[in-house]
Amino acid sequence: MLKRWRQTLTLTDVMVYAIGVIIGIAIVYGTLRTWQKAEYTPEQWINLTIDGLKLGSIYALIALGYTLVYGILRMINFAHGEVFMAGPFTAVFLAMYLDEIGFYNAQPIISLLLITLLSATVSVTVALLLEKLAYRRLRYAPRLVPLITAIGASFFLQYTFRGFYGADVETYPNLDILKGTLTFGPITIPKADLLVIVSGFLLMLLLYGIVQHTKIGKAMRSVSEDKEVAALMGIDVDRIIQFTFGLGGASAGIAGILYAIIYQNVQAFMGFIPGLKAFTAAVLGGIGNVVGAWLGGTLLGLLESLGPNLFLSGLGVPAANQLKDGIAFAILVFILIFRPSGILGERLSKTKA
């Protein structure tokens, strides 16, 4: 076996693995030191974990949009962060109006449904417009061309919405039924957080079901496998692509409302960083893979939340939380070194064999 290793392993591999191992050791060592120091109570760790899960759910839902589009078109839809922003930023005005007339807290469930509907509709519209105006013509262009188009569209959308609604931060009014916490044994979780985590998971299941078990899902998978052959099989490729964008847009719009429930404040530039993080999550989980997007998103959320306290403060780094984004990327490198196509690997179309 050793001889086979010596034959297939090159110097590159050794260097690359060495880097991975160094990162791994740093993580393990830091974690052990933190356990030793016992700075934080279990209650705090639980709180951090819940925070990570809820942040992760939001990332996961946005990542779903990235992963679906990438699976079908092999392109990074850089403007997806703005698709995420458009929904809640528009729906906030409806929320404020409903709150003014008292409907908001009188009929919270209907209000939430209305707001989510509006948000999803706006996000889907933006996604479809993007597909039709910016991306359709570039379907067969080299990879960098649609990337630049997406970047341009991203800036355009940010500033268009800033122009429409102003540069200020808008706030969602509080929903009374979501105040307060629920207790399950040792774990106390705020109601809003529970809603977000559960919705995220359910939505992921729904999307997974659509992709794997419906006819249109099958069409999506075949288009992502090979567009020309799918067309030969009688599939309307344009329609399927539109549907994919729409699905991703709806998912982002709903993620926007979940974001609004927890963080309450929306503004024109709120989509940029979550968009980037969600893309990282999609790559982490294996781009093109629905479950991978969810896993990647959740993992990223947990890393951001737990990472600095878990690894870095153990290593004695002051103001560790400043570097939380750095941790996420370091972990990304670590995973991609040992599993270059992400945790679950690529491909929308690969069935679970």
Binding site: A167, N265, A319
Partner: protein, 405 residues
């Protein structure tokens, strides 16, 4: 071109130049730097360099609006000349400062500049403006080195109506230690020069008074998930968290601190970057009991709520989002007052504004009654009223109520 045409054009050009020279002005400018000559029908040109683009835009736009209200209060004119108020984006960065600096420095019609929004921009722009002879007055620079005697970044011609970090940070520390009686504090900044400077002064002063700083952390200005940083701070059990940051991140901190185990009863305090109706709206019920330092506007007088705010609302459709609008209002008024004082006016309406004379007048400002208090300028350019107040937010109410001194 035919020869005849050439001759005709030359004659026209030469005669026009001669005519221009013949209309010579009788006034001789004896100013050390030089004078700005404003023709009888020309406007007096005051420029601004503020951040009006990008995510920080509300800071600059508010300041610009405050200055515009000051102009409107004077009827848009000074000494019977219209006031031309335009300018550049300073981008809140060194690059932006250089771009704005070079553009404005090349315009000799400018009398004074209101700006910059951010200290990093000023450090690069000021050498250019100082050489050009402008009077520069800032409504929101707070870095200490800009008005420190002997510091390389302190240039002649610079003044500010915003509070020097040394004043605001120290006031916050004294409030926390002496008035509230706290001995343990934690600080959070957001990576901006403003916040970082303030937390440093706070920490130094608090430690000098005898307290301890349990943690010094930082967040990203657009960050929404604060649980990590708050949990780290919770392990040191501070009595107060000082976060002199801006609205977006500050609101999130307020919303999430009381939910973090270990920080349920911790007091929070911000600086004038968080003195804004958007904080009250964005933080909802959680804003109850949050302190914030700011110029003492209870001294503004009835004019502020009776005249200034309605005028602002009518012109811009909303109340001001940041407190720096008031500093800008005062700054513009100071400039206009000095322009009126030192300008020499010809019989035909031409104005001669001496540059050094304008600077001297500005530095000599004493007990100028502004929105932000009584303004007296030090020789190095600090004009802000040295008294800074601390206010307390109550849910649903704006502005917060004054609690100190």
């Amino acid at each position: 071109m035919s020869k005849r045409l050439l001759i005709i054009v030359s004659i026209i050009m030469i005669s026009s130049m001669v005519l221009a020279a013949c209309g010579a002005k009788p006034y001789e400018c004896t100013d050390k730097i030089g004078c700005v000559t404003v023709g009888p029908t020309d406007p007096v040109h005051i420029a601004y360099a503020m951040v009006i683009n990008g995510p920080d835009a509300t800071l600059g736009i508010d300041s610009r609006n405050g200055a515009e209200i000051a102009i409107a209060d004077k009827g848009g004119k000074v000494l019977d000349h219209a006031i031309k108020f335009d300018g550049e984006d300073d981008g809140c960065s060194a690059e932006g400062g250089q771009a704005a600096g070079t553009k404005l420095a090349a315009d000799p019609t400018i009398v004074a500049i209101l700006g910059t929004s951010c200290s990093s921009a000023l450090r690069v722009a000021m050498p250019l403006w100082s050489t050009a002879g402008f009077t520069v007055i800032s409504a929101s620079n707070t870095a200490v080195d800009l008005t420190e005697a002997g510091n390389e970044n302190n240039y002649p011609g610079y003044l500010r109506t915003a509070h020097n970090d040394k004043v605001q940070g120290a006031a916050a520390a004294q409030f926390a230690y002496n008035f509230l009686g706290f001995k343990k504090a934690a600080t959070i900044h957001d990576g901006s020069i403003y916040a970082d400077g303030l937390q440093k002064v706070f920490a130094d002063e608090f430690t000098k008074l005898g307290g301890t700083i349990t943690a010094r952390e930082s967040v990203d200005p657009l960050q929404v998930s604060m649980s990590g940083v708050l949990t780290t701070i919770a392990s040191g059990t501070p009595e107060i968290i000082y976060h002199p940051i801006f609205i977006a991140a500050g609101t999130q901190l307020i919303l999430q601190t009381w939910k973090t185990p270990g920080l349920e009863n911790t007091v929070e305090m911000g600086a004038d970057g968080m003195f804004s109706p958007d904080v009250m709206k964005g933080a909802g019920d959680a804003v109850e009991g949050v302190y914030v330092s700011s110029p003492d506007f209870t001294k503004f007088g009835a004019d502020y709520t009776a005249k200034f705010l309605p005028a602002y609302q009518a012109a811009y459709g909303s109340v001001p989002v940041s407190i720096f609008h008031a500093h800008a209002y005062d700054a513009m008024n100071m400039v206009l007052a000095c322009v009126e004082k030192v300008t020499v006016k010809d019989s035909d309406g031409t104005l001669h504004i001496p540059r050094q004379g304008l600077r001297d007048c500005m530095y000599a400002t004493k007990d100028f009654k502004g929105l932000t208090g009584n303004l007296t300028c030090t020789p190095t350019g600090d004009c802000a009223d040295p008294k800074i107040a601390v206010f307390e937010y109550h849910a649903g109410e704006y502005p917060p109520t004054k609690v100190w001194p």
